[in-house]
Symmetry: C2
Subunit: 313 residues, 2 copies
């Protein structure tokens, strides 16, 4: 099995994870969690989203969180910006990068952002220019790249169209998002290989949800195709509005554990990361989808029992 | 991504799943579930274990379950037999195959079965002969093949030793078991490729637990190495005594979904299987680790909404 030696994790829990939580998470807790994540060795954190507070009340404290976190040198602090107003709010606080997001299907673009795919791309072009003038690079996400809740399978041409426009705009870092958690490893392999081949100038990443328990398999498939950058969410925070109660984003600690077990370095301290996931569990009123929190590491050996045991195969 | 066209699922929920449940499952419910599984197209079901009732009270009704299920032609009905007494109880009811299990590490063999690896193999040789005389083939499982709760990593030589003895005994179907759910995809690939190469006369299968969310990734790795047979447990039933509260066995419906999504046929009706998992949920007093039960299939499309939506990226 050929795998790259190194993978890079973008922690998105404070944005994609927290925004899925209905119960208010106090701003102090959000700041503590971002600060704790910063110390695990994770190379980048998506801190919040500058979305309208009425759309996502949980992230109404975006300014306060971004302005009050301790920025650790070497860690990139990124934020999602859904529109020009949000971008302007974000730029005032100098994030390291801003994330734009556009759906690759018309129906999801309308449902999620009340705009067509082309309208979204035009808005992103405008935002990219404003951010670039402020010296902040823009990253492009492609929602529903691997499946749409309304349209089902997505022709690769729709990904290529959005990616081409992103590249024309000047974007050089693009994320393929499995927004609703339907991608299988073969699809991930094929799409990853195709996009790497078609757009060699782009730094590609993958945004996975574990909705149907394929996130870890999809990480391995993407690594085999040559993608080494992954969004992940501490504690497996996150969710999907089309599958209430389902598993959330790919869990950072489960992903880091698997990568390390396979000999793929991440630079992340897994023990520290599991400790942060346990801290997250204390502020979230439901059980996390985190295997490492529940099961612990492989190397947490048990003492061998002595004396007679019952036979229970 | 090169994958075989077909995979074979051995449903082990009624044995490995039920035995992990503390609360008594009425015999009638067990029989209904085995009967329902039989109609999904699954090629084989591990119906129960003829273990001593004091060791696993949940399976004290092994005789009644095996004798009262409706056997569907084409489905193999298998049972686990931990010792000669259990084998004799089983053979009276003519299962299609009997499963033996031996740990590949000394400390787990002692903890689980109060015997050394060699003592276990000697007992299995005796059982194999008795079963063969009754016309019932014996299958060999290798517990802790991919990691031991007491010894950690397991040298491949220990697997080869047990497999060699199994082959000498006459066994031609062997299962590599990740009993405690610690295997990563690279290890699974390497071990699978090695065992296929070293023992070409053996039909190999893989028994996975999803304790650390790597089961589905391990299925893909094993398929890439050439193993096409997998144990799986409806509803993700099962567990690990060394990780209370952790995820259970690899879920049959999640595995079948992934295989079908990748174009790997199983012959199993996924809708029927999800319906059985929901039936299982009704008799189990905790939430199942089943993504397909919670999230549904990719093809369960939503109606596209109309009218203005809030922007919530």
């Amino acid at each position: 099995m050929q795998l790259p030696k190194r993978a890079y994790i973008l922690e998105v829990g404070p944005r994609d994870g927290f925004q899925a939580e209905k119960a208010w998470i106090p701003t102090e807790r959000k700041i503590e969690i971002v600060n704790a994540l910063s110390k695990t060795g994770v190379p980048a954190v998506q801190v919040t989203s500058f979305v309208h507070p009425r759309a996502i009340p949980q992230l109404a404290d975006a300014e306060e969180v971004l302005s009050r976190i301790e920025r650790v040198p070497g860690v990139e602090y990124r934020v999602l910006v859904p529109n020009l107003k949000g971008l302007q709010r974000a730029l005032a606080l100098k994030p390291d990068k801003v994330h734009f997001m556009n759906s690759v299907t018309e129906s999801h673009s309308r449902a999620n952002a009340n705009r067509s795919v082309d309208e979204g791309l035009a808005q992103i072009e405008e935002m990219y220019t404003v951010a670039a003038e402020a010296g902040v690079p823009g990253v492009g996400g492609m929602a529903c790249s691997l499946g749409c809740p309304f349209e089902g399978k997505v022709p690769i041409q729709q990904l290529e169209k959005v990616a081409s426009r992103y590249v024309e705009i000047g974007i050089r870092e693009i994320g393929i998002a499995d927004t609703i958690g339907v991608a299988d490893p073969r699809l991930v392999y094929d799409v990853s290989a195709r996009m790497l081949d078609r757009f060699p100038q782009v730094t590609w990443s993958l945004h996975l949800h574990n909705t149907r328990d394929m996130a870890m398999a999809n990480v391995v498939a993407a690594l085999q195709a040559g993608i080494t950058r992954f969004d992940a969410s501490v504690g497996g925070l996150g969710g999907c509005p089309y599958a209430p109660g389902a598993a959330g984003n790919a869990s950072t600690e489960d992903m880091v554990n698997m990568l390390h077990e396979m000999g793929v370095e991440t630079g992340i301290d897994l023990d520290g990361l599991i400790a942060v996931a346990k801290m997250v569990q204390e502020v979230i009123p439901h059980e996390l989808d985190s295997c490492m929190v529940k099961a612990g590491k492989r190397t947490d050996l048990k003492p061998a029992p002595s004396g007679q045991q019952k036979i229970g195969q």
